[in-house]
């Protein structure tokens, strides 16, 4: 894969979503986004107005999370939050899907929830966070179809606060469902340029990460060797390896681990690295 530093930077949503994020951090985030020409900054709604002011007259967009990180708010609340964020300067909205409703099979509620946010967001692009670690594959596919039908522009893997981050497996699955008509954003656990390139190779065209600066800076190492991209152990990025009973519903956890039983790489899953 040949990707320029600039092209890689444009794909990055430079992210700061933690509860302890101070105003100074937002300022730093925006300054870095301008320096490195990232695609967007991804922040909580409380910081949107400030970030929009810092980024005005630039190509860096303000992306605001909505219903974050659980996705369990009333649709009206999500819609209101999205509308306010857009009014304050957000050009992109990353909303968390109603995961529980999807697991209930309440497709109407999931879809109307997304539609409400899409309507409230006006011209702003909407990305729907599936929180893939809480879903089995059929549910991920269903969620992608609903998001597309509801008029969203992107599907996104994870909040970064859920049971697991982005995996190339999930990105590939999501890309296969949405095709080329929608974007796929990989988010959660993307810390190195190798992580980034693997996600892009799997089908992602946007990356959510708080390690944007390191990724771009370290990407300069790539010029000096192709060995960085040597194959890894097959289990490293497998969602089944990352499954965790303490963080996932039991049925989801067991579904992931069931896959290990028939996995051809099962015998290689020995060590803890």
């Amino acid at each position: 894969m040949t990707l320029s530093v600039e092209e890689l930077a444009k794909m990055i949503d430079h992210t700061a979503l933690k509860a302890d994020t101070k105003r100074s951090k937002i300022k730093q985030l925006c300054e870095e986004a301008l320096t490195y020409e990232f695609g967007a900054v991804c922040i909580n709604s409380i910081h949107v107005e400030y970030a929009a002011e810092l980024l005005k007259n630039s190509d860096v967009k303000v992306c605001c999370v909505v219903g974050f990180p659980l996705g369990t708010n009333l649709s009206s609340v999500k819609a209101f939050e999205a509308k306010e964020a857009v009014r304050l300067g957000a050009e992109e909205i990353d909303m968390v899907m109603n995961v529980g409703a999807l697991r209930d099979g309440n497709i109407e509620l999931v879809q109307s929830d997304i539609e409400a946010v899409v309507r409230a967001s006006g011209d702003a692009h909407v990305k729907v966070i599936l929180e893939t670690g809480l879903l089995i594959d059929d549910q991920k596919r269903e969620a992608c179809r609903i998001a597309r039908k509801a008029g969203a522009h992107f599907v996104k893997t994870s909040t970064g606060f859920g049971p697991m981050g982005a995996t190339p497996y999930d990105v590939k699955l999501m890309r296969e469902v949405v095709g080329s008509t929608m974007g796929v954003k990989a988010a959660g656990g993307i810390r190195t340029f190798k992580d980034a390139l693997i996600m892009i190779d799997a089908g992602a065209n946007r990356l959510g990460t708080s390690s944007g600066v390191s990724i771009i800076e370290d990407y300069r190492w790539a010029r000096y060797s192709t060995s960085w991209m040597q194959p890894e152990k097959p289990c490293w990025r497998c969602p089944s390896r990352a499954a965790n009973l303490n963080k996932q519903p039991k049925d989801v956890y067991l579904w992931y681990k069931q896959r290990c039983i028939t996995c051809p790489h099962r015998d290689e899953n020995i060590f803890n690295d």
């Binding site: 810390r191 190195t192 340029f193 190798k194 992580d195 600066v213 390191s214 800076e217 370290d218 300069r220 190492w221 010029r223 000096y224 060797s225 192709t226 060995s227 960085w228 040597q230 194959p231 890894e232 152990k233 490293w236 060590f271 803890n272 690295d273």
Partner: protein, 590 residues
């Protein structure tokens, strides 16, 4: 760049004379300074076959073109000589504040020849240079020596000195600055002692000139930001020190335990960086110009101690089966006082314990037993009893007792705190290191264990020779600037090139920077070949070809046979490990 930056001081201790020389810019451009400059001078000026502890050996203290500028961590110095422990060319690096003072005094290197008939110390006060009597200092430990010399020369001076170990020709002897920063490895302290040189004291007041101050400032600003953004340099190292690695390396099953018989230490948590923070830390320590501050100042038995860092924790801890943090720290302190390399001392004691437990030698030492450990360090420093045997290093010790395979060394230098069975690239780095068993020539632990800059499969051999060479060339060039190795977590090759371009006025990019590193590495190799080293010396102890019994690296062995031929080929060395004429010509080092 002004002439000021190219000045070296030659000292003939035999004749009691000093001479200032101006280096040609060409040497600096091709070798940068520090390690590269020292290697070039030693290669050109030292005849082959010289006894490292004879007056004919040359001892060089060097700094680099970035030293004492605004570049972060650029206050270090490097000692280059022919090692009495390995017989190879050797560079041993030291933090603290001595390096910055040397550069401020106007020198990039001190080249020391001969032997003084009576103990001496060198006193450099800007342009004034004196060889002074040190009879009153001979026999003193490094703390007393430092204090006495600062009384004599003033508190602004910096002292690099040896302790009793260096005086006594212990091949594990270090040179100490600021009481606890060590040019530790390779027995450089013994070379200094063999010359009758107790200390070098330096004070400078000049500001090093740089070619393009604005460009350098811009590069430095960026470099500082990168250090601040990096989790290793901004969090792990400042908070826990280098001993933050104890738990991580143990989890990977690579924490050498009981002289590398195992890779997991049951009590690792108790000797971890986290535990040092909770139990012993008084304050952190940072070297000149360092924004990281990985150094630890601890307190045990009401003694304030510099250290311990990761390698020291390992050497006196898991390597000897000891889980007592206070004893480990006190062992560190003794090494500071005597001027000893903690890695080689701890590793050699671990070797002695295994020899003892296998019934091959007699001693009171046992794995996990603190009794006798501190006394043994005393005995090594003064070459008393069994200590005299250990003072020669583990290779000599194990050979003497009929079990050379129990010395965990490469080319005579004790291997540090990473079992190479757990990381194939790191194993190749050990085997091919020009100075012997060293983790810093090519720190493949970064990608293979820590995931920096990206995570590599530590078990794969494919692609590793290429990366080992990349890191070796980079480290050779970095060591010539001279900056701290930890910057490598935050900076890429281009950052170093940017800074050196601005400082020296030579517009080089990353590729040229690496080429300089390759030139230095190859010249070191040529020196070693000239001394009689062969491909057979690019070896690892037999132990690493048998699987580890348990832990995170269980069942693993080193696949050196797969790695080494490819390494030679990529290096453009022949199958005997000798650089080809074409390469020598290409690098212009013939």
């Amino acid at each position: 760049m002004s002439e000021f930056n190219f000045k070296i001081l030659r000292v003939s201790l035999t004749d009691n004379k000093t001479l200032t020389e101006h280096l040609s810019p060409e040497i600096m451009f091709r070798f940068l300074g520090g390690r590269g400059l020292g290697v070039k001078l030693i290669y050109d000026e030292l005849k082959s076959g010289v006894d490292p502890l004879s007056p004919d050996n040359i001892l060089i203290f060097a700094v680099g073109p970035l030293t004492a500028t605004s570049v972060p961590t650029a206050g270090r110095f490097v000692v280059i000589t022919k090692s009495p422990l390995t017989g190879t060319i050797f560079d041993s690096h030291c933090g603290g504040y001595f390096g910055a003072q040397l550069r401020k005094a106007g020198y990039v290197a001190i080249v020391i020849h001969g032997r003084s008939s009576t103990p001496a110390y060198l006193w450099i006060d800007d342009d004034k240079v004196e060889i002074k009597d040190a009879t009153h200092l001979w026999g003193l430990d490094t703390y007393e020596t430092t204090d006495r010399l600062l009384d004599e020369t003033g508190p602004k001076a910096q002292v690099a000195c040896i302790g009793p170990a260096g005086e006594n020709g212990v091949k594990l002897a270090a040179i100490i600055n600021d009481k606890h920063r060590a040019a530790g490895r390779g027995g450089v302290g013994a070379v200094m002692g063999s010359k009758g040189l107790k200390a070098v004291v330096v004070k400078g007041s000049k500001s090093p000139s740089v070619s393009d101050e604005d460009s350098l400032e811009s590069a430095v600003k960026r470099a500082r930001l990168l250090i601040k953004k990096n989790p290793v340099t901004n969090k792990a190292l400042p908070v826990y020190g280098t001993a933050v690695l104890v738990n991580l390396i143990n989890e990977f099953g690579m924490l050498p335990t009981h002289n590398f018989q195992e890779g997991t230490f049951n009590d690792a948590e108790g000797v971890s960086g986290e535990k040092i923070l909770e139990r012993l830390l008084v304050k952190t320590y940072r070297c000149h110009g360092c924004p990281i501050g990985c150094g630890r100042i601890t307190r045990v038995n009401d003694i304030e101690i510099g250290g311990p860092e990761y390698e020291t924790v390992w050497a006196f801890g898991p390597q000897c089966g000891i889980n007592d943090l206070e004893t480990i720290t006190l062992a560190n302190h003794k090494c500071n006082l005597y001027g000893l390399d903690t890695i080689s001392v701890g590793s050699t004691i671990g070797c002695a314990i295994e020899l003892t437990e296998k019934g091959l030698m007699e001693s009171q030492l046992h794995f996990g037993q603190i009794e006798g450990l501190l006394d043994m360090i005393d005995a090594i420093a003064y070459k008393r009893g069994l200590g005299a045997e250990l003072a020669e290093g583990s290779r000599s010790l194990a050979e003497k007792h009929g079990a050379p395979e129990l010395s965990m060394h490469v080319k005579g230098l004790e291997i540090p705190a990473y079992d190479p069975r757990g990381a194939q690239g790191h194993a190749l780095g050990y085997a091919t290191s020009n100075r012997g068993g060293c983790h810093l020539r090519s720190y493949m632990i970064g990608p293979e264990v820590m995931g920096s800059p990206v995570r590599l499969d530590r078990d794969r051999t494919e692609g590793k020779p290429e990366l080992v060479i990349l890191y070796q060339n980079l480290s050779a060039a970095m060591d010539s600037l001279v900056v701290c190795r930890f910057t490598n977590f935050a900076w890429t090759i281009d950052d170093y090139a940017d800074m050196i371009s601005a400082a020296m006025g030579i517009p080089i990019g990353g590729d040229e920077f690496l080429k300089i590193g390759e030139r230095i590495w190859t010249l070191e190799r040529l020196f070693n070949v000239r001394e009689g080293l062969t491909a057979a010396d690019d070896r690892l102890p037999k132990r690493f070809f048998k699987p580890l019994p348990e832990g995170g690296s269980r069942n693993r062995v080193v696949h050196l046979d797969e790695l080494l031929p490819k390494y030679y080929q990529l290096r453009k060395w022949d199958e005997k490990g000798i650089p080809t004429k074409a390469l020598i010509s290409e690098l212009e080092i013939g």
